[in-house]
Symmetry: C2
Subunit: 341 residues, 2 copies
C-alpha cells in the first residue's frame, strides 16, 4: 500500500537549462514543485535566476538533496554528466532525462552505475529555437511524454516505484500524458516521427539553397515548404547529434524512404502509376483527420486502472504498444490510469 504523496520525489533537480530543461524548470516552478536547477554556463544560470528559478552554481549541490534528477544536457554531455550525478545524488534519487533517444542514454547511465535508478523520458515537444532564452513553461505543459522503464526479462527491472515517480511528474505538475515503452520501441518510433522528418526537412532546405531558381523558390515558399522545412531551422548541431545517436534506427528508415522514392520516380519517368503511393494510407488518413490521439472524453469506461507492481509495468508496456496512454496516477492506491485509444 502506497500512502498519499509516497510517489512524490521530494525535491526535483533539473540539470541543464537549455530549451527543454529551462521550460521544464519554469513549468515545475509555476506549478509549485520544489525544483532546483543548474547549468554549466554562468550566463545561463544568471538568466535563469532572473527568471525566478532556484539555481545552483554547481551540479553537486544541485542534486545533493534531490529525490528526482532530470538530465537535460546535450546528448554528447550525457555520459560525463551521469558520472557526476552518480557521485553526488542520494542513493534513493530516481534519475530521468529528456533526451530524444533512449537506448544510447540508457547505455551512458548504465556505464555510470545508474541503470537501476534510471527511467528514460522524452517530452514530445520542441521548437526550432534553442537555449534558455527560448524556453517557456507552456512548451511542456500538457504534452505527451515517452517514458521508458528498464526493460526486458533479461535486464534488471527498475522498481515500479521509480516508474511511478516519473509518471507522477508527467501526469501531475506537467499535466501531460505518458506512453510507457521500451527503449527500442521509442527509438524506432522517434526515428519515424522525428528524426527522419528532420533529415527530410534538411534535404528540402539544402535543395532550395543550391537550386538555380533559389530566389524565386524562397519567394514562392508557402505552407507546404514552411511546414516541411521548419525543423530544418533547428540548431543543425542538435539535429545532427540526434540523428547520429539514433543511427541504428534512422538508417534503415532512410533506406525505406529511398526505396519508396525510387518507385515513385520510376513511375513518374515512365508514365507509370503513382496511385498506390498516394492512396495506400487512405484509411489512416481518414482516421487521423477525424482525430486520433485526441484526449478521451474521460468517461469511466475509457480509463482502465493498472496496479503499479512488476506485472503492472508489463501491462502498461503492452497496452501502450497498442495505442493506450497513461493519463494519471492514483498514488493513494498505487494505480496508473490508462486511457485506450
Amino acid at each position: 500500500m502506497v500512502t498519499p504523496g509516497a510517489a512524490g520525489p521530494g525535491r526535483t533537480a533539473v540539470v541543464g537549462l537549455g530549451l527543454i530543461g529551462g521550460s521544464l524548470a519554469r513549468l515545475l516552478a509555476a506549478r509549485g514543485v520544489d525544483v532546483v536547477a543548474t547549468d554549466v554556463a554562468p550566463a545561463t544560470r544568471a538568466a535563469a535566476r532572473r527568471a525566478g528559478l532556484d539555481v545552483h552554481d554547481d551540479l553537486a549541490s544541485c542534486v545533493a538533496g534531490a529525490g528526482l534528477v532530470v538530465l537535460a544536457v546535450p546528448l554528447r554531455a550525457m555520459a560525463a554528466t551521469a558520472l557526476e550525478v552518480a557521485r553526488h545524488a542520494p542513493e534513493s534519487a530516481t534519475i530521468t532525462d529528456v533526451g530524444s533517444v533512449k537506448g544510447p542514454v540508457r547505455a551512458a547511465l548504465a556505464a555510470a552505475g545508474l541503470a537501476d535508478r534510471y527511467v528514460g523520458a522524452h517530452p514530445m515537444s520542441g521548437t526550432e529555437h534553442s537555449g534558455f532564452d527560448a524556453s517557456d513553461a507552456g512548451l511542456l505543459d500538457g504534452v505527451t511524454w515517452a517514458v521508458a522503464p528498464a526493460a526486458g526479462p533479461e535486464g534488471r527491472t527498475a522498481p515500479a516505484q521509480r516508474l511511478a515517480t516519473v509518471l507522477a511528474l508527467v501526469t501531475g505538475p506537467c499535466a501531460g500524458r505518458a506512453v510507457v515503452l521500451t527503449d527500442d520501441v521509442h527509438d524506432e518510433a522517434a526515428a519515424l516521427v522525428s528524426h527522419v522528418p528532420h533529415v527530410l526537412a534538411t534535404q528540402l532546405f539544402n535543395a532550395v539553397a543550391g537550386a538555380p531558381v533559389r530566389e524565386v523558390a524562397l519567394r514562392l515558399a508557402a505552407g507546404s515548404f514552411r511546414d516541411g522545412t521548419r525543423v530544418a531551422l533547428t540548431d543543425p548541431a542538435r539535429t545532427e547529434a540526434m540523428v547520429t545517436e539514433n543511427a541504428a534506427w534512422v538508417a534503415p528508415a532512410l533506406r525505406k524512404v529511398i526505396r519508396d522514392l525510387e518507385l515513385v520516380v520510376g513511375a513518374l519517368e515512365s508514365n507509370g502509376s503513382v496511385h498506390g503511393f498516394f492512396h495506400d494510407a487512405d484509411a489512416l488518413r481518414g482516421a487521423v483527420r477525424s482525430g486520433p490521439g485526441r484526449a478521451p472524453d474521460g468517461s469511466a469506461t475509457d480509463v482502465e486502472e493498472v496496479p503499479l507492481g512488476p506485472d503492472g509495468v508489463t501491462t502498461l508496456l503492452e497496452h501502450c504498444r497498442a495505442g493506450a496512454v497513461v493519463v494519471g496516477l492514483d498514488t493513494t492506491r498505487a494505480v496508473a490510469l490508462l486511457a485506450a485509444r
Copy 2:
C-alpha cells in the same frame, strides 16, 4: 498613356468553386469587385449562392460578359474547360488560372486557341482541406502569387496589357504580391517548394502507417511529424495530379533527394560524418531565420518603377528571377512597382 482604371478588367468570372476558386470569389466579392462564378456541381453552386456569391448555372453565361476569366478547375478538367471558355468568353477577355503547374496548363490553353490571351497564375496558399465548404476569403488575402506571361522570344508574347490585368487583380483586390516568371522557372521552383515536399510528407505518412510501432508513433507524433505530414492529409487525388502533371520537374528533384539520402545513410552506417549535410545551408538558414521574403518597409528607395511595355515584361522576369517581387501597379502611368529583396 493608360487612363485610370484602364487596367481593370470589368467583370471577373471564376470558373470552378473548390478551395481556391471559392476563396478567390469570396475575396473579390468582399472587396467590391464585380465577380461572377460557376461550378459544374449543383450542390456547390447552391452553397456558393448561400454564401452570397453571384453564381451562374452554366459556364457560357458566366464568362459571356467577363473581361477576366479565372480557371479554377482541377488540372484534369483544364483542357475541356479551356475549350468551352474559348467558345463563350469575349475575344477581349484575358484568361488566367490558379493551377499548381504552369507548363501543362499553358499547353491546354494553347490547344484551345487561347495562347495569346493566357497569363498563368498560381497563388501560393492552400490548406489540407478541399472543396467550397473549406474556402475562405482570408486564404488568398495578401499572399504571394506566381504570374507567368507568355514567354520566350520564339513564342507569341502576350501583350503587356494582359499581364497588367492579372497583376492588377493580385496587387489590388487580393492585396498580394506577384513574382513574374516563366513557366519553367515556376514549375522547377514549385517542384522544390511544393510538389517534392508533398511527396516526402506522403512517404512519412505511409511509413508510419506501415510500421510495427505505428500506434506508439502516432501517439508520440509532435511538431516535426505534424508539420512534415500536414500536407499528406491533403486530398491525395489532388496531390497525385499535381505531382504527375509536373513530373518533368518533380522526377529530377526526387532523384536528387535520393542521391542526398544515400550519402547520409552511407555515413550513418559507417560512422562517417553527416556534418556537411546538416551544415551546408547554414548561411541560408541564418538568412531565413532573420526573415527573407518579408514585406519591404515600403520606403521609396526599395521600390523600382518598371514601365509595362514589352521590355518591361523582360525586366520584370529578370528582376523577379533575382528575388524581386511586384508589390503594386500604377495604372495611371502603366508602371509596375517592383520591390527588391
